[in-house]
């Protein structure tokens, strides 16, 4: 297919359709409402359903219901909306149902603002909801990657039978870039008859499937948590994704950055290179599982004097970076989170301050 010009939000909607998602439930919130606006036009053409819930709390459980029935399902929201869905996310993780959640992050806490932010890193990677669970979290740095990650999210949600999150920020959702769609991904979930409440007649079985998150028997609850933990360990082995930039040089500083912020850092690195200053960047594409070993290895390079995490937050991913660098280099932080995205010139000043 030839390239088209799309907003991140629209492209995420189209990617879901191409991944075979026929069920989309959402509640509008800036800066992601274009996903709903796009899918309300496109989904009926594909025989799909868009339902606007009365709130994000309702939407979270609509997703749980459809996912439990083995349907390919997605919702999109922005920060405060994801907070409202967090209880359902915990239930869906516990009940081991595949579902795709997209968070086009806006400034917080509270109602915050409508401009881009990465302030939901903790919420996405460390919980949000209650209990011992993780989301598999991917963070695109542009519209093309948003498409690829959204399609991949459905595959991974089914592989691990759990919720997968795409964490973009307002700019990823709102900006337009030329984009090309990969071939449609329209495979049926392979093993849903084993667990989904998709109807005994449908699956021609006499066995009842039960989707639940309540385990009153302590041994059963422990077993369920162990099953979840085994999945997270498998993700750490098989799903870590990241990109290294300018890392084949004798870089003096290693930047860790993701999403929109990494685009600015890339420009700053190119500009510094023209001045003869080599800086590398490690960009996690998966925020959970985090590229732990890659961060350690990149920081360990002899030429590297310092590591700096640059984020549109007050310092969130930096905690994972510090954990992975294991004290071998100083780990610094720079962040802004009012909605203004730091300029390449600002990043250059910060980097020069480390030399």
């Amino acid at each position: 297919m030839a390239k088209v010009l799309m907003k991140g939000n629209e492209a995420i909607g189209e990617a879901a359709i191409r991944a075979g998602c026929k069920n989309y439930f959402a509640y509008p919130i800036t800066p992601q409402s274009e996903v709903a606006e796009y899918l309300v036009k496109r989904l009926p053409e594909e025989g799909g359903v868009f339902l606007q819930g009365e709130s994000e709390v309702a939407v979270g459980y609509m997703i749980f219901g459809a996912a439990g029935a083995g349907e390919r399902v997605m919702t999109t929201s922005s920060s405060p909306g994801i907070s409202l869905m967090s209880e359902a996310l915990s239930y869906i993780a516990a009940a081991q149902c595949p579902a795709v959640f997209v968070n086009i992050v806006r400034g917080g806490p509270g109602l915050g603002g409508i401009l881009p932010s990465q302030g939901d890193y903790f919420q996405a990677t460390k919980g949000g909801g209650h209990g011992d669970y993780h989301l598999l979290v991917m963070a695109p740095d542009g519209v093309q990657e948003a498409v690829e990650m959204t399609m991949l999210a459905f595959t991974l949600a089914e592989k691990y039978r759990g919720p997968v999150m795409i964490m973009g920020d307002g700019l990823i959702g709102q900006m337009m870039e030329p984009v090309e769609f990969p071939d449609d991904l329209k495979t049926e979930p392979t093993n849903k008859d084993d667990w989904a409440t998709n109807g005994m007649d449908t699956r021609k079985s006499k066995k009842r499937n039960l989707v639940k998150s309540l385990f009153l028997d302590p041994a059963a609850l422990n077993d369920n948590n162990l099953a979840l933990k085994a999945k997270y360990e498998q993700m750490k082995k098989e799903e870590v994704r990241f990109e290294l930039y300018n890392s084949d040089t004798d870089y003096q500083v290693l930047i860790t950055s993701y999403g929109t912020m990494s685009r600015v850092c890339r420009t700053a690195i190119d500009m510094l290179k023209e001045e003869g200053i080599e800086v590398a960047m490690l960009r996690p594409k998966t925020l959970f599982p985090f590229p732990e070993k890659a961060v350690f290895d990149a920081a360990a390079k002899d030429s590297c004097k310092a590591v700096i995490s640059i984020e549109m937050s007050m310092g969130q991913m930096v905690e994972d970076v510090e954990r992975c660098v294991k004290g071998q280099r100083p780990v610094e932080f720079y962040g802004e989170c009012g909605g203004d995205i730091p300029s390449p010139e600002k990043i250059i000043d910060i980097i020069k301050g480390l030399l």
Partner: protein, 225 residues
């Protein structure tokens, strides 16, 4: 290009209305005209005229925006200053509307001010955007915009582009599409646009309308042109 009076720049969501409006304002200002531009985009909270305020004002263009305190709000606030400038005499007043039919609803609120004036409304079309890649799609949006704005579209603009990846073939494809829309609707093609990079590569004999050069003002923060 001969634009005077009130010109509304409309079109489907993301068709490039704002870049078109800004560059049209700049081009007309450079010919010595007194130009006003008003940001009527109450729909989309990002990439609006308000982000190009400084370069426009440097050219001597009067920019009418929502009150500063609402600059970053996603609220449907129409500045009373818009009605004021429509009443005032100026060579050219450009109204940069929001996308789709929803985006021009605001024009109905200005109906009493607009009613005795000559108003032109341009439909901006980018063939590479969803929903306007064929004649039927363009005409559908056109009808929706007209119904919602309570105004008629008077001319077409092709803003065919894939941003930095735009080639002459893309511009030609967009031009050919708007020609077909023009043939079917009877509307004139007022002009087409072309970014500074692709402009020197174009065969100008292919076009029977003016070409407005686009100097992109709404850039993501990492772009340095």
């Amino acid at each position: 290009m001969d634009f005077t009076g009130i010109v509304v720049v409309a079109g489907n969501y993301g068709s490039g209305k704002t870049e078109t409006a800004i560059n049209l304002a700049a081009a007309c200002r450079k010919t010595g005209m007194a130009v006003n531009i008003a940001d009527l985009d109450l729909v989309n909270p990002y990439f609006r005229t308000r982000e190009a305020r400084i370069p426009l004002e440097a050219l001597g263009i009067k920019v009418i925006l929502p009150d500063r305190q609402y600059h970053f709000a996603d609220l449907p606030i129409l500045s009373p200053a818009v009605a004021d400038i429509l009443r005032q005499q100026s060579d050219l007043t450009i109204l940069d509307a929001g996308g789709d039919d929803v985006g021009v609803t605001v024009l109905a609120a200005l109906a009493s001010v607009l009613k005795d004036k000559s108003v032109r409304m341009l439909q901006v079309i980018n063939v590479f955007r969803p929903f306007t890649n064929d004649v039927a799609g363009c005409i559908k949006i056109q009808q929706e915009i007209e119904a919602s704005a309570k105004l008629h579209i008077t001319g077409l603009v092709s803003n065919a582009n894939l941003l930095d990846e735009t080639t002459p073939e893309h511009i030609y494809r967009g031009y050919d599409l708007v020609q077909k829309v023009a043939a079917q609707t009877g509307l004139p093609v007022e002009f087409i646009t072309a970014g500074q990079k692709v402009l020197p590569l174009l065969d100008m004999h292919r076009f029977s309308c003016p070409v407005l050069p686009i100097d992109r003002k709404l850039l993501p923060p990492w772009k340095r042109i």
